[in-house]
Symmetry: C2
């Protein structure tokens, strides 16, 4: 893979936000020298991929769409399928597991699958230190952030070093491959284990008046990026457009960083990762966290794909929900200065999402995965949670370091 070089960055406390890089070639050959660009050789990509889990977040997607997404994930990545699909009247999750099994058999590979609303999954998280994750009805809250917590916890059990996230509502399998290769290339080029690679879609195609139009950004993304950039300006005084991936669903990081992150609930999860890093990045310029969990710098790498991103249009309400959930988190963050907080409140009032003088809601924030008892979590999932599947393809134990399947119990770190 060949990328444009990213020589500029902005330092915000201890967080280094790197300028957007672009993909020049998906496949940059096996020997090609790089002069003005960054190339990552196939063997270098493969080295990361074979240490990477890819978490697929799924909710009622068409089965053919899911099949396409599976086919796009590079072979050496371990698939972690987290579903919140309906189980009644048709048990969609059961079909999803079957098609993942069938794919793994055809492709000779391993996967994990789990359902977000399995009561025994909820019980296991309560017992091991994440009671906040569970609703009064005894299941894990609905929401994307919550699904990512589950995915991150499973990734942490696999003994792999990296984790990446992709959405299942993606109609272009080749773009899934590009996301994973971008993750691998970005993580290879990153100088630090405190690095995060966030993907900016090239475009979102829509048919308008019988013609294909390629919009550069969704509205929610544009909006969130602007709020985050304005927040940065309040600190430095200098206007900036450095953040291009505030809402990036497709992103990856070393587990070393992942275990220290806190996830927000729902659609706030992706922008909150940035907010959390800025809050806790040990950066005196931004906040004075008492026990900063990160030592040294955190690097945010942003990479723009070549492929367009084609998914279902989820409508106006969905976009508003995403925006407001993210703004709630920004409002309550200690990185957010007064003028921005006021502006958020004014916006929500003007859009009738908030009564005058009311405060934006406090969203859920969940504990770091690193603080959970992962061994106990694994044992409880394994013995009780019927939706938890460890899928082994035909004769594929040999491709992995562990001969036991996706997870080797003996290597799970207990707290």
């Amino acid at each position: 893979m060949r990328l444009t070089k990213s020589s500029r960055f902005e330092q915000v406390g201890a967080v280094q936000i790197h300028e957007l890089q672009r993909v020049i070639e998906f496949d940059s050959g096996s020997t090609s020298p790089s002069v003005g660009s960054d190339t990552v050789l196939p063997a270098e990509l493969n080295k990361i991929e074979s240490q990477m889990c890819i978490v697929i977040l799924c909710m009622n997607e068409e089965f053919k769409t899911i099949e396409g997404v599976l086919s796009g994930i590079p072979h050496d990545c371990l698939i972690i399928f987290v579903s919140n699909s309906e189980r009644r009247p048709v048990d969609r999750y059961q079909v999803e597991v079957r098609l993942t099994q069938s794919f793994c058999k055809d492709a000779n590979r391993l996967a994990l699958a789990i359902h977000q609303k399995d009561r025994d999954v909820a019980k296991a998280f309560v017992a091991t230190g994440a009671a906040e994750l569970v609703d009064r009805d005894g299941t894990i809250h609905n929401g994307k952030g919550e699904a990512m917590v589950i995915g991150m916890a499973l990734a942490a059990m696999t003994n792999r070093r990296y984790v990446g996230f992709v959405d299942a509502d993606n109609y272009i399998p080749g773009s899934v491959t590009e996301y994973c290769k971008v993750f691998a290339a970005g993580l290879h080029l990153a100088a630090s284990t405190n690095a995060m690679v966030r993907v900016a879609w090239n475009s979102k195609p829509k048919e308008r008046h019988g013609r294909w139009m390629f919009d550069k950004k969704g509205r929610s993304s544009r909006d969130i990026n602007e709020w985050l950039n304005n927040t940065l300006q309040e600190h430095s005084g200098f206007g900036t457009e450095i953040i291009k991936t505030g809402n990036a669903g497709e992103h990856a990081m070393p587990l070393e960083l992942g275990l220290k992150l806190k996830f927000a609930g729902g659609f706030a999860v992706e922008p909150y990762e940035l907010i959390y890093l800025l809050e806790n990045g040990n950066g005196q310029a931004v906040t004075q966290a008492e026990n900063p969990p990160f030592v040294g710098e955190v690097h945010i790498h942003q990479i723009e794909t070549r492929n367009p991103h084609l998914h279902d249009n989820k409508g106006e309400e969905h976009v508003q929900k995403m925006r407001f959930q993210a703004l709630n988190m920004l409002y309550h963050s200690n990185i957010t200065p007064e003028p921005i907080r006021n502006a958020i409140q004014d916006l929500m009032v003007s859009e009738e999402a908030l009564a005058k003088d009311q405060e934006p809601a406090k969203g859920n924030i969940y504990p770091q995965i690193g603080s959970l008892d992962l061994l106990m979590l694994y044992d409880m999932l394994n013995s009780d949670a019927k939706s938890f599947h460890q899928i082994t393809g035909e004769s594929c134990a040999c491709s992995y370091s562990s001969a036991l399947g996706p997870i080797d119990r003996g290597s799970i770190q207990s707290t």
Copy 2:
């Protein structure tokens, strides 16, 4: 890349048409064993790619679309850009050449570019044995088949072993990568140098009533496949659906086969390749060609992609043109029995494309590239044709066996 196995085939004379294979994984890892599927390792793909020319056929596509297509072609393939874009009022071809130069500089690679309507290109083809290609106005006929003849001739000069064709009107760069990888995988798996790999698109997405619909086939493809399959049945007696890629724009072959092929003009070119092979495949069961140009078997491999194919809707007229141009060729072929010929004529009359009792038009058929004086063609293009560009990326001579650029004059075979 991992493909389903294709164990079944139909033998038609000396032509073996293999059952459609499907892509299971784009990236099947670097060591993965294959049990029930065919895997092609990255090094095996790379070996073919570094011997392959990819001809891009372009006519007035958006520049951003072309950039995307270029980015999708694996690095080690040599790009051959054949354009029939407008040169007035804006010289689109000049912009196309500039952006190809800019891409080759960024990506450190080589390309050839040429314009279909350059009078000096026409002169060179007339002088070297393909006068049929040229119109009374002294330029090469418009048409896709004609552009492919030019591309094939340039490919034959490069001393590479394989040639593949892709269309420039493709909005998903990752699908271009998949086509090229499919070419490489198919050619690697093919047992013969008389092999052709033809791509079947997974689907064509369209937005209908605010929803994405993924049509399995375009109408023209369905129709042409049916006519070709019916023709096969007239010979064997047995009904068949084996041909799924009658109209495949994306296809590849060894130059050894390419030099022996005859191309038809316009949109008939892709189905005519099949018709020509059936006519000349040395197969007594089909025809008794007096001097069959092919010794031994010809293998047609058909591979279905995972990516959808997203391109502009060119309208009803375009579809009709494609169908009728192909049916003209089938009508006049000696593989076509009376009942099929009558049915073609009836169809055209009923659709008012033909007066009653009139014969379908005879389309143009061009000489084999192997019969041209390629060295003279190269010299004439090189010295006279202003639209002919040999593009070298920065410092990239080292990636190729020849240090001279895309074409090494000394290695062109003279007739």
